[in-house]
Amino acid sequence: MKRFFKILGITLGSLLTVVIIAATVAIWWVFTPERLTPVARQVADKFITCDHELGNVDLTFFSTFPEFALRADGLYLINPMEGAQSDTLLAAPKVVAVVNVMEFLRNQNLIVRELSLPEVQANIFINEQGDNNFSVFVSSPDSTEEDTTAFSLPFQDIRVEGLQLTAPQLSFVDKKDSLSAILTNTAINGTVKGWDDVLLTLQSASVSATLGDTPYADGLQVGLTLPAEVNLDSMHFVLHQAQLAINQFELGIDGVVDLQPDLAVDATIQTNNWQIEPLLALLPASITQSLQSFRLKGDIQLSAAAQLDMATNKSHVSIHQLDANVWHSSVSAKGEVDDVLNDLYLDMALDVNVPIWDVERWIPQDMQVTGAVKGNLAAKIKLADLTEMQLDKGHISGDLMLNDIHFQMDSMLANLDKMRLQFTLPNATPSHKKLGWLAATLTMSPLAFEQTGSLAANIDESVLKVEAGNVLSNDPILYANINLSSKGQLVAKMDSMAATMQVPALTAYAEYDTKDATHIPVLKATLDFDDLEGNYTDWLAHLEKSTLKASITGGKRNKSVPVMSAQITTKSLTASQGEDLAAKTGALSISAKARYNSKADQILLKWNPRLDVDLKDGRALLSSLPPLIEIPQIRFSYSNKDFVIDTSRIVLGNSDFCLSGEVKNIGKWLQKKDTLVGVLNFTSSRTDVNEFMEWFSADKGSEETEGATATDTTATSTSTSTSTEEANPFLVPTDVDLTLNTHIDETVVFNQNARNLGGRIYIQDGKLVLEEVGFICRAAKLQLTAMYRTPRRNHLYLGFDYHMLDVNIQELVNMVPDVVDMVPMLKSFKGDAEFHLAAETYLKANYEPKVSTLRGACSIFGKDLVVLDSETFTTISKLLMFNKKTENIVDSISAEITLYKDEIDVYPFCVSIDNYMAALGGRHNLDMSFDYHVNLLKPLYLGVDVTGTFDDLNIKLAPCRYAKDFRPLFHGKVDTQSAELRATIRNSMRKNVKI
């Protein structure tokens, strides 16, 4: 074995010695620099088309052991081009090419296993036309041209399989693409196992690059591992999982890069985890400028495919996956980015998990919102539009869950556990052309809202749909439409008001001019609910199944003038105010509109209200009014143009009323431009006056207040003369023409039932008239006409015309006690009668009558009258020796009385009973003094004058003055003058009777 190894060692040593000797011989004697250099230079001439210098070339073995290598002391390529940063393309102080000797010896192919160029400086240049200064190599001899040189290549083919290059500085300028780069302290290694299997590695301590005027890199540490397929002729490179590292940022690229005619890239990109802040520091200002306002801190990882074509200026990146963690937020994105280098366009789908404070930038400064947002977003928008908040130029949508939301703005607070927000920008199906910017649906868990010091509201789970105009645009008018619905309840409290609403549904549209505060905002709202209970101080209200509509807008001609409307339709309303009022209705519909007129003073002219009310089955109970007020139906409409009562029925105790009619020209009348005209019809089937008197009686009677004034008559009388100046009587307006037609089927007053009470009450031409108001009762058929006029403040007119037919005197005395003052003896009469009374006077402003204008007449006619009571009649009949058959009946009695100024004249009238006949007449003064003459005409003539007052009677005998009127002395003719006068009076009164 030892011998074997000895033999082996000697053999190898011998071989090695031989090789060394052979190499030495080859190097020092065969392949000497003097022999190699010319050859190399000729080869260089053959393959290098530009000016070049090649230093001495020698063959090395020992320094490149075990390989032979050709070493040149410098290789300089000079290819000046106009505009190039240097004429020198390549300056390599030393070039070492490790060659495959055997391949050369066998096949005469010069295979350079490794070409080493240390300390190289290179200046690569491409001009505007796309011509470059590095196309100086001939890849293979041009066989088409005839080679006329004497030199022939000592090898068939030349191939470089490896490259090692170190360069203190490499310069690249591409004028055509406005690209330039400088690499400092760069090491490039390349292996070429064929142009389709090229591996290039590059490590550069500092890379600076600009594109156009924009610096894209400045002192970056760059590492590149680039397996590729290379076509230098077409500058077409196919990268196979190339790795680029810039500082700490690693990027894997797999794809195609073309440098001619223009830069074009089609590759996939994969990054490691990039920190955002240092990344932004690397990016040019043109890109980061738009992101300056963002507070970005986190990391990002990208997997994408990019296409870039400088010839067409198109660039596109398909992001397969982009994960970013920024602050406390995380975003995963996929999508497409177009026109990366210019006006970047995003078509992205994002999954986001963002605490709201991380997106404060998009929240108005006066609003604070906390909570978290999680969900997905989709955006198709330019980055510039996004960062400049011109969101309407893109398309953004999202489906987000918001949790633990706390909202605060000024004094408003809101808390929300959970909310789903679905939105689209723009709004694809706007309900109004101004609402095309945003559509959003918020599905909320129970929400608590509060406005400090005033409003607090809670709503159960609800859905809020919002449409909005562009709130970020220059349009000063904000547009919004909301639709809020809940299957639960809404509870709201404000000051002393509170309301609880079941199943509310609110739709509201609003426009608000943020620049002109004088413009009335537009608000149109409709609120539906199943049930509402509300209270305000001691008011309580309950509405069932109701709809409320309200709107306020500015006028069409003047937007500063508010125009309002409101409408409520409810199935039923129940309301109460403490112990004072309780009311309930059936179906109720109220519609109201108003238009504000600032120039008007009167409230109706100021607001121009229009009101339509339709109420059914109403009931009210007032503490001041014992009975229940029932309102079976009221339907009316009001505007300043007319007030129309279609129907109104009220039932109050035993009474019922119905009022209908129309009143016109209310507005113009208030402006004093026209007459108020109207006709109202008041009907009742039954009216219980006794009940009304009981309900509406004053707390104090008139006698209780007279006692206070009776002790101070002196002061009262002296002030009378000046009281007319201070008095403020009711003056009948002359611009009113109103008529109230009344008809009451049955009226109960005291113990009387009156039927067919009706008449007409009207104001017309400055007169207030009660015209032919009549009724029929047990006591009589009655007709009354009364008039009140006001020609002057201190000259007021009051007159009435009163007729009673088929009068029962006793009933009459009960009804009209004052008639006894005028005809005292009626106290003693019973039976049927006819009564007419007409009187009038002018009054002073304090309603004192002007005595000189007093006019009146009274006519009483009775028949079959019972005179005196039975006991008294019996006493008198015995005294006067009446015939036993004489009945207690007076055939007839007829009295006429006139009132003229202060004179009450009782025209002589006659009474006969049994054998007795008496006549009476005279004057009664307003001071209650009188001057009567009483005649006994049968069985004898006897006359007495009764004068004075009831307290101071003066009776004296007098001649019979009335004999001639009733029973002339000595059988003369009756003087009819008195009778004619009485007939004149009576007939003048009867002609007005209509009953």
Binding site: Y797, A838, R855, T898
Partner: protein, 147 residues
């Protein structure tokens, strides 16, 4: 017997005398109202009368029209309605049944036309400057005025 006959005769004579002394029916004659035309003012106070002249619309059969007012009662001539005969208006005529007994008949109107109120006065004296009439209880004196 004679006494009886004498008494009987006396009675018959008396009856004839009494019945024969009954006044015959007197005929009422309309008296010219010219002396009343014009304005009159009561001698006490500021009460005025106007008896109007005979004009087509100021006559109703035998009656002429007039009106009155009392300024002490804050009633003035302008307050009297001119469109119709109402409060303050009256129609009047003068009649006589004997030369020494001229009767002034007045029918006073009401604004509401509810009744007409008759007043009858006996003319005491009348001249171009004064007018005096009376009723059963009072006497009224006026002086002529120009308005």
């Amino acid at each position: 017997m004679k006494k009886v006959c004498n008494l009987l005769t006396l009675g018959i004579v008396l009856m004839l005398v009494v019945t024969g002394c009954n006044k015959k029916d007197e005929v009422e004659i309309l008296v010219d109202s010219d002396p009343l035309y014009g304005y009159w003012k009561k001698t006490t106070g500021n009460e005025y009368l106007r008896f109007m002249t005979e004009q087509e619309d100021m006559r109703d059969g035998d009656y002429l029209f007039g009106y009155e007012w009392n300024e002490d009662d804050d009633v003035y001539e302008s307050d009297i309605q001119k469109q119709y005969h109402g409060n303050g208006w009256f129609k009047y005529k003068m009649t006589t049944k004997s030369k020494s007994d001229t009767i002034l008949h007045e029918l006073h109107f009401m604004d509401n036309q509810g009744a007409t109120i008759p007043k009858t006065y006996t003319i005491v004296s009348t001249s171009s400057q004064s007018l005096i009439y009376k009723d059963n209880l009072s006497t009224y004196s006026f002086i002529k005025v120009k308005r």
